[in-house]
Amino acid sequence: MTVVFYIAGAVALISTLLVITRRNTIHALLLLVVSLLAVAVVFYSLGAPFVAALEVIIYAGAIIVLFLFTVMLLNVGRQAEGDEPGRLRGIHFVAPGILAGVLLVLLAIAIASGPSAQVGARAVGPTEVGAALYGPYAIGVELASTLLLAALIGARHLAQRQREADLGSVAAAVATPAAPGPAPEPPAELVPAAAPASAAGDDTPAAGPAGAAEQAPAERKFWRKDDG
């Protein structure tokens, strides 16, 4: 199992390096899955099988799939490669690489100055982890559930506002992000003062009472661009 640790660690490092240098989003996310699976193998070799299973199920199985669905929803195929014009040449990695190298040296010195020890003296199975979770860490479990509930409500709120903005025309708006639509003046929609005039057709809440429009002007304008 010792050699498994080294091989899995090397795979994790290489695939993570490849993740941050890819241009294609899908390729990067699939390499990130490889990286997470390698880290799961590292967990298993360290005697933490429960966490290894959680890494595969939640990180690789749920979070990365959420990323992939978002990428498909955003339809960032060829357009994503133009999102970083002039980026991703080797020169842009020099300064962050030097900074990270300095930090790595400092961390290595700090780690090496501590007492040495062997890892993985004994395996800690799911039984002990569960007993700790619902024993001394019970309040942490409750707080984590509250955090997840807050994130659920927040994400649902954001997605709902988007659906209200253009009911049924999500695909068209995403395919052509700067689509002018029927309105011939897309730049004018960015100006708040011109919004009631240009939104005479479909946007009744903004064109109606002036109090509602000035109650949350920034939020209103945030949705305005793709409406027309």
């Binding site: 199992m1 990130l32 880290v39 933490a48 994503a80 980026r87 961390l107 020890a117 993985g120 994130a151």
Partner: protein, 102 residues
């Protein structure tokens, strides 16, 4: 069971964290920035698990579970914001949001 020095696990965690940091600093695509943050959170969890394994306690794995739930919450909100960012600015380039438009 692997019999490797405790420090090697921490070196691996530090290297993964710094790769994620370089990703956040270099990349301008919002999806890549979120993925790099995931890499950094995962590296922090790896450090916890290594430390828990060194002492043979379950506390490291408990902390990893908390980090996992926090990462799940973060990515749900972050990806929803990425959808809104794309709709508002027409691209995923975070430099598009570097100036305030009134």
């Amino acid at each position: 069971m692997a019999h490797v020095p405790f420090e090697y696990g921490l070196y691996l965690a530090a290297a993964l964290f710094l790769i994620g940091l370089v990703g956040v600093l270099v990349r301008r695509n919002l999806i890549f920035v979120l993925a790099s943050i995931e890499i950094m959170l995962n590296a922090a969890g790896l450090a916890f698990v290594v430390a828990g394994s060194r002492w043979g306690h379950a506390d490291g794995q408990v902390m990893f579970i908390f980090i996992l739930s926090m990462a799940a919450a973060e990515v749900a909100v972050g990806l929803a914001l990425a959808l809104l960012f794309r709709r508002a600015f027409g691209s995923l380039d975070v430099d598009a949001a570097s100036r305030m438009r009134g």
